[in-house]
């Protein structure tokens, strides 16, 4: 059989059929984390620290245990220590041991027969704390005299003599930065602050755990990766992975925030102690206080440029804090910051410091929006000072095939130039502006990833196919995977059904993150389909009495590969499937792989704002997203990713932030004051999808989901700054900050 490895003409891929989970989701039937129940189920609740930093002197649970209806009480002592440092840190975020490290840190949990009894039991637990000095700002945490959040966690390459809060440092770049600045006509250095933002998914974390006395357990939860949940939870519970089956419910948004666990180990321990199924659901204020937001950042960025707009050098120092535990996000920010440009000389230095905040977790392109914001804002200010066109200047410096990137890798085929050119050609770029309006533009970059992936594809005797994969569907991936299976098999999209299987049904699958699912699961699906096709070609060959090599698979049917192979009418998938019991048994294909070769992707956003000069109130009036998708498998869903990511970035740019008081407590743990964009805040978000194929995927697919959140911080900043005639150096640009810039304070 002859199968082209690369495909560029498609029958199903690139169309926009309805998603298979659509009807369930519009009728209320879809089951999310909090919708799962079990007979005899108890309700769990968690007691959380009101202190940002304190030693736990004692916990007295006796009064809670005495309340009728209370079936289990859990504290940190119930969990045995684990060796793996990463798992141990996650475990400690779920339940404090000796110290509480942030406002909202769990200290105890209960399971009771009703929610009201569980609440009463929580109130009956007495915790004695010895408060410690706290620190919630990264710059303050790096001072040598800052209160130490955790001791002894610095990596070996952190210089001696710094605060123990400094746990990591990194440096990337190439070329002689000082020599580059010497060649510049303008060197501009600016400092920026970026507040922590929350992923803001509408579905709070929820799970239902059932542990039996013989050591088996079932866990249902809303997660971006149930295999990772199994790995962490089995380690923390001291269980074998085989005995813990994790099933992912439908997921009500994640954006990176559901790539770890916050409550699942606690639910399992409550179930183990009570012998009953236990449901644990976070309230919204728990989500804000005690699930992972992003890092918050403090950045110094210096760029040199010639009069005609050629960048000669870039030098940036990033200080990120991922809360009370070490975080690796700095490394991605430091690599991504200058990645869109061909930099003759570049250096990015990163630092990570501990603060008394919850443990950071990924949010769409983790680490990149902050670093890229600083670079794109400085470039924009330089364009203003030098009187240069911001898009032409970016084009002059754009990374292309063969460019040595800021993170050391030489780029293959990439779409930065095409993306900038498409932005330039878009009518938005040349549309007139009204009074008090301004336009900003910014580029963005993200790596995208592959990862461990398993897919099984079964051919049913009625000529349909079932795809079993292991990645929770957060953006319509079941549709795109079905499309790719249909494309390979040559059967209709409607004849393929893709399901997300539990951890007992497939090998390990990495989280739904890194924009990996359409790319990596798609690739594994294509390979699984090709494996099934190989079997079907063999069956046809056997029935025809010819060599399997002499059979081609074309449009859903086996064909003799040429006149020499024999003269037989094509045998369709349905015909082969119907005879499969008689020709050797059921037909399936499967593929297991750790996928690499994801293609980087670039985006350029254009933003128009209108600023009220007397109040600083800012409205986004027009917004356009241009992005390279490699190949858009389901173009409408690609647009949805671009629009959704851009709006999250707009929210961050204007209003979203974690606000800690002097007392170290979170001031805005709710949707009322953590202000995500509402429908009336926004204009239509226009999209332009470019398709520069990724050489690493048979259809050219790149990741799509993360890049769109990278440019908005700077696109909106540049628009606001150009409107008010003053540069803004802090995100979010809340109205008081804009007004104070306007007034020149």
């Amino acid at each position: 059989m002859a199968l082209d490895d690369k495909k560029s003409r498609f029958k199903y891929v690139g169309t926009t059929p309805n998603r298979p989970d659509g009807v369930d989701k519009v009728t209320g039937k879809a089951q999310y984390g909090a919708d799962i129940t079990a007979p005899g189920m108890l309700t769990g609740a968690i007691l959380r620290s009101p202190h940002p930093h304190a030693r736990i002197v004692s916990i007295d649970t006796s009064a809670a245990e005495a309340i009728p209806g209370v079936r289990a009480v859990v504290t940190g002592k119930d969990f045995a220590p684990v060796e793996d440092q990463g798992f141990a840190d996650i475990g400690e975020t779920c339940m404090a041991r000796d110290k509480v490290l942030y406002d909202g840190h769990p200290v105890a949990a209960v399971a009771a027969t009703t929610p009201a009894i569980a609440k009463a039991a929580i109130r009956a637990i007495k915790v004695e704390y010895a408060p410690l000095p706290h620190v919630t700002d990264v710059d303050e945490a790096m001072r040598p005299d800052a209160p130490v959040v955790l001791e002894g966690r610095a990596l070996e390459h952190v210089p001696a003599g710094m605060s123990q809060n400094v746990t990591n440092t990194c440096e990337f770049g190439h070329g002689d930065v000082e020599a580059g600045f010497a060649k510049a006509d303008l060197v501009l250095e600016r400092s920026f602050k970026v507040a922590a933002a929350h992923q803001g998914y509408i579905e709070p974390h929820a799970c239902m755990a059932s542990v039996t006395s013989d050591g088996r357990a079932d866990l249902y939860c809303c997660t971006q990766g149930h295999f990772f949940v199994r790995a962490v939870c089995s380690a923390l519970m001291g269980m074998e992975a085989s005995q813990l089956r994790v099933t992912a419910s439908e997921i009500g948004g994640g954006f990176g925030g559901k790539t770890t666990v916050f409550i699942e180990p606690v639910a399992l321990m409550l179930s183990k102690k009570s012998g009953r199924p236990v449901k644990l659901v976070m309230t919204r204020d728990e989500v804000f206080k005690a699930s992972g937001p992003t890092v918050h950042a403090s950045i110094d960025c210096k760029i040199g440029m010639t009069k005609d707009g050629r960048i000669t050098a870039g030098d940036m120092t990033l200080r990120y804090s991922g809360g009370a535990w070490p975080s690796g996000t700095i490394e991605m920010g430091a690599q991504a910051g200058f990645a869109a440009y061909d930099m003759p000389a570049v250096r990015t230095i990163g630092w990570t410091a501990l603060t008394n905040r919850p443990k950071e977790i990924s949010y769409r392109a983790p680490g990149a929006p902050q670093a890229v914001y600083a670079v794109e804002a400085v470039i924009d200010e330089m364009c203003q000072q030098l009187g240069l066109d911001p898009l032409k200047t970016r084009l002059k410096n754009a990374a292309a095939k063969g460019t040595l990137s800021s993170y050391g890798v030489t780029f293959d085929e990439i779409g930065m130039v095409a993306t900038l050119e498409a932005a330039q050609a878009h009518p938005h770029w040349s549309a007139p502006l009204g009074p008090n309006q301004g336009r900003g533009v910014a580029a963005g970059f993200w790596f995208n990833f592959g990862g461990n992936t398993c897919v099984t594809l079964n051919i049913n005797t009625d000529g349909t196919a079932s795809v079993t994969e292991g990645n929770p569907d957060i953006g319509g991936s079941r549709a795109s995977i079905s499309l790719m299976a249909a494309e390979e098999l040559g059967i209709r999209y409607e004849n393929v059904r893709t399901i997300v299987a539990d951890t007992a049904s497939l090998g390990y699958n990495d989280n739904t993150d890194g924009s990996r699912v359409t790319f990596a699961v798609g690739l594994a699906t294509i390979k699984a389909a090709r494996a099934a096709i190989k079997v079907m070609c063999e069956r046809a060959a056997a029935l025809w009495g010819i060599d399997a090599e002499a059979v081609d698979w074309i449009d859903g049917a086996a064909h003799p590969s040429g006149p020499n192979a024999g003269k037989f009418p094509p045998m369709t998938l349905a015909e082969i499937a119907a005879q499969s019991f008689q020709t050797g048994g059921p037909i399936a294909g499967h593929h297991e792989v750790n996928v690499d070769g994801a293609g980087v992707s670039f985006g350029v956003h254009i933003c128009d704002v209108e600023v009220d000069p007397e109040t600083g109130h800012t409205l986004v009036k027009r917004y356009t997203v241009v992005q390279d998708a490699g190949k858009a498998v389901h173009p409408t869903y690609v647009e949805g990713q671009m629009q959704g990511g851009a709006v999250q970035g707009i929210g961050w740019a204007l209003n979203e932030e974690y606000i800690y008081g002097k007392d170290g407590r979170l001031q805005n743990a709710g949707f009322l004051d953590y202000r995500i964009p509402v429908a009336s805040d926004l204009p239509k978000i226009d999209t332009v999808i470019l398709e520069i194929p990724n050489p690493g995927h048979p259809y050219g697919v790149r990741g799509v989901g993360e890049t769109p959140i990278v440019p908005p911080l700077a696109a909106v900043t540049n628009a606001v700054s150009r409107t008010i005639g003053k540069r803004m150096y802090q995100v979010p640009m809340s109205p008081p900050r804009i007004l104070s810039a306007i007034k020149g304070a």
């Binding site: 007397e614 409205l619 004051d673 509402v678 009336s680 805040d681 109205p735």
Partner: protein, 285 residues
């Protein structure tokens, strides 16, 4: 917690007064249920007043309007005549929360919750509205302006409930307007707000005005409206009004806004609301 539905205002008042523990009135419940959820309060008794005859009705009264205490703001919005007489009052009431919250929340509830940032209150104060209060010692009438006592506090005595809000009759060439500042376009609590009610002479001179500000002091405050009386809202009058508004601000610095921002924004809003009310009074769309 016990729940009761009261058939009369007197029965509600009696039950609330007799409760030795914490008692709360339930009308729209959009503040009460949030407080219950957060565990901020654990009442022993909740009295639902929505079954009291007339309490969900809007009726004409002495040239003005009687708005029952349990009239949801969405119902108020659908009442064309009240809206024509008091567009600013209705505007304020309709800015509270979402469409969903509008289906439940009431002006009286907004008033009795005691928030300095209540959106319905500045409009009522600018309108010089009053309320009927039924209590253990009988029925009394008070000015809306006299109800708030500070953040989360009112001057109502134990067992007293507001049963109706009274909007006075409108003189010819009168109108009002309400503006608030929020960072988004919807769903936020006011950072600063201003309501202006005014009456014009035939030649367009302001003959009567009241200006009330929200979210800039522990309770709603009146700004000196004499700054615009006798004027046709020329730039100097508007500037004087903004200054007068700023001068009565006594706000706090918090997550929603700074003292400086709230003060300057209150001045801007007072000026802009005055212009809107002025144009409405002149019949300019």
């Amino acid at each position: 917690m016990r729940y009761m539905t009261a058939e009369t205002a007197e029965a509600a008042s009696t039950a609330l007064a007799a409760e030795p523990g914490l008692a709360r009135v339930l009308a729209g419940g959009t503040d009460l249920l949030v407080q219950l959820k957060a565990g901020m309060i654990q009442p022993d008794l909740v009295v639902d007043i929505k079954k009291i005859p007339g309490i969900r009705e809007i009726t004409p009264e002495a040239g003005g309007w009687r708005i029952g205490a349990a009239v949801a703001n969405a119902e108020l919005k659908e009442h064309a005549q009240v809206k024509a007489d008091w567009p600013g009052v209705v505007e304020g009431a309709n800015l509270i929360g979402s469409t969903q919250v509008q289906g439940r929340c009431t002006m009286a509830g907004n008033l009795c919750n005691g928030s300095p940032a209540a959106d319905a209150v500045p409009g009522l104060v600018a309108a010089d509205a009053s309320v009927t209060i039924v209590g253990p010692s009988g029925t009394r009438v008070a000015k809306v302006a006299d109800i708030p006592a500070g953040p989360g506090r009112t001057t109502l005595a134990k067992g007293e409930i507001v049963t109706a809000i009274h909007l006075p009759a409108r003189a010819p060439r009168s109108a009002d307007a309400y503006l608030r500042f929020i960072p988004r376009t919807e769903m936020d609590i006011a950072v600063a707000s201003a309501a202006v009610s005014l009456t014009l002479s035939e030649d367009g001179t302001v003959t009567h005005a009241r200006v009330a500000l929200g979210a800039v002091a522990p309770k709603v405050v009146l700004a000196d409206a004499s700054t615009i009386i006798g004027t046709k809202l020329d730039d100097a009058a508007l500037a004087a009004l903004a200054k007068a508004a700023e001068s009565v601000c006594n706000p706090i610095d918090d997550k929603r806004g700074t003292i400086e921002f709230r003060t300057s924004t209150a001045g801007v809003l007072a000026r802009r609301a005055a212009l809107i009310a002025y144009n409405r009074a002149k019949g300019v769309k």
